[in-house]
Amino acid sequence: MRASRWAGLIVLLAIVGVAGVMLGTLPLTPSQVLAGLLGTGDHTEVAVVRMFRLPRVVVAALVGAGLGAAGAALQGATRNVLAEPYLLGVSGGAAVGAVLAVAWHAPAVIVPIAGFGGALGAVALTLLVARAAGGRADARIVLMAGVVVGAFANAAIMVTLANAPANIVRNAVWWMMGSVADATWAQARWLSVYVIVGVAVLFVLARAIDVLALGEDTAAGLGVNVGAVSLAVYVAAALLAAGTVAAAGLIGFIGLLVPHLVRMAGARTHRAIIVGASLAGAALVVASDLIARVARPPAELPLGAVTAIIGVPFFLARLRRLA
């Protein structure tokens, strides 16, 4: 990818980040944002900037970065441009965990932890199913196992919600639609460590992903341990996605779409694709969250719905190019 495009990507992320702090129910000017950041503005502005908007933008960016990098690594390692981290059972498992927590009236702080646990359980189940089928590292078998586990998770959710009271159904469905509206600095702190470590691990694996993308026989001939590297990528990508799910619920299309955008922009090797997908994913989720806030004030749209609404036309255009 050319240097000008990298610069453009960073500028884009900065612009949507600043816009994300400026816009909302209470619009702020750039000088008010600066005053809020420095703590010199009036109390409301300082509170809005520091306590609500900034952590929200940071969490949105981290979620997007994690999903983008995980999707990029997974598409490379599976050699499948339709792969995304949710396909490994992450989304279904997380939803089951969160829905069970909601249905059992667990405190709100437990819900994301239950979602994370559910995601981990589902990923483990996906890899076990793939292994039992005889293809621990075979990309096609792992992806199919993920689809099966996801279908099972959906059934579990429907069974749980079928006889649940309306308020529980509503809470559960809201969680599944994804949101960063309740972002806090505490959340931003643990998520930043988690996402930085996860993206770094995938970045280190990037060169082996380049080799894997050539096909398994060629990769083996170049000395890559196909099984071990594939498994490492699956686990790292799934853990990364599970962390973002714990923070923000299910936000679809980012892991699928962003790697395509970055490759279209000219990124060719997976080090560039993974870093580019982190930046582009961050920008896209921050922008989507901004749209979720300002599209129909004072109501907020579900973030997962906004990313899907943005993602679908992009993806259709991409399909036309492929066809």
């Binding site: 490379g76 050699r79 499948n80 441009v81 280190v204 694996l205 060169r207 082996a208 380049d210 080799v211 993308a213 050539l214 096909g215 398994e216 026989d217 060629t218 083996a220 001939g221 170049l222 000395g223 890559v224 341990n225 490759r263 060719r268 090797t269």
Partner: protein, 266 residues
């Protein structure tokens, strides 16, 4: 030197083993050709070398050291493999693609140094792909793509190279260019093991031919020893004649028409 000793491979879904105790050696400085009908076990032997199929028995060694999964990257520094099919999932650039040949030396961490750049430059020069470096590999012709793959293998820097039908889909000129390049590599001291269906070219270029038939070696030796009509007719199950081409100084195989079909259609 690559040595296969009594290598047997059995696929789960098939009753008959794919290879029954095959032994052959690809020596440095020589072009060793592996020929045989479809399904005779040629590609299985190559896949066994990279550990993609488990050995039921026997050993494979490179320069006397047995090939094991733990030492796969060390082996990749000595032996480069150009598989029969390679279908990259993404449009990586030719320059980056050739550079992946240095993976066995660099691993995940190390940055490319002068020796890596020198190996890549040499490979690009030998295969004459300098003009293609900025193109994505998805936009190459069949001949260009095979040359680029060969460059990647040469960039690996080992002294052994294994190629599984590298000239499939190539026209005469591109095919000959690949054969000339392989001969040059062998003359330089590489051990070249070539899987091929081009018996006539192999008869001219190879130092040794190994003929596989249903997972066993049917004949092995100098081209003149293996290129016998009686042997080849039995193995390929097709009528043919082998003549001596005086201009080339090599045996030449001519397949005949099938007797029953030929009478009606010609």
């Amino acid at each position: 030197m690559i040595a296969f000793r009594d290598v047997a491979v059995r696929y789960l879904a098939r009753a008959e083993p794919a290879l029954h105790g095959v032994s052959l050696t690809a020596l440095r400085g020589r072009l060793t050709a592996l020929v045989g009908p479809n399904g005779s076990g040629k590609s299985t032997l190559v896949r066994a070398l990279v550990g993609r199929v488990p050995l039921a028995s026997g050993t494979i060694s490179v320069d006397g050291e047995p090939v094991r999964s733990e030492t796969r990257r060390l082996m990749a520094r000595r032996v480069a493999i150009v598989t029969q099919r390679e279908d990259p999932a993404f449009a990586i650039g030719v320059r980056d693609y050739v550079a992946l040949g240095r993976y066995p030396h660099l691993g995940l961490w190390r940055a490319a140094g002068t020796s890596d750049h020198a190996a890549i430059d040499r490979a690009v020069q030998l295969t004459e792909i300098g003009a293609l470096l900025e193109r994505p590999i998805t936009e190459l012709s069949g001949g260009e793509w095979q040359r680029v793959r060969l460059a990647r293998a040469i960039a690996q820097g080992g002294d052994a190279i294994v190629l599984d039908e590298p000239t499939t889909f190539l026209d005469i000129g591109h095919e000959m260019a690949i054969f000339e390049l392989l001969i040059a590599l062998a003359k330089e001291g590489h051990a070249v093991l070539l899987v091929s269906h081009q018996l006539n070219l192999v008869a001219r270029f190879a130092d040794e031919i190994v003929l596989l038939h249903r997972g066993r070696i049917a004949a092995a030796g100098a081209p003149g020893d293996v290129m016998q009509a009686s042997i080849l007719e039995r193995v390929y199950e097709w009528p043919l004649v082998v003549t001596w081409d005086p201009t080339l100084g090599a045996p030449a195989l001519i397949p005949l028409r099938a007797p029953s079909r030929g009478e009606h259609t010609s």
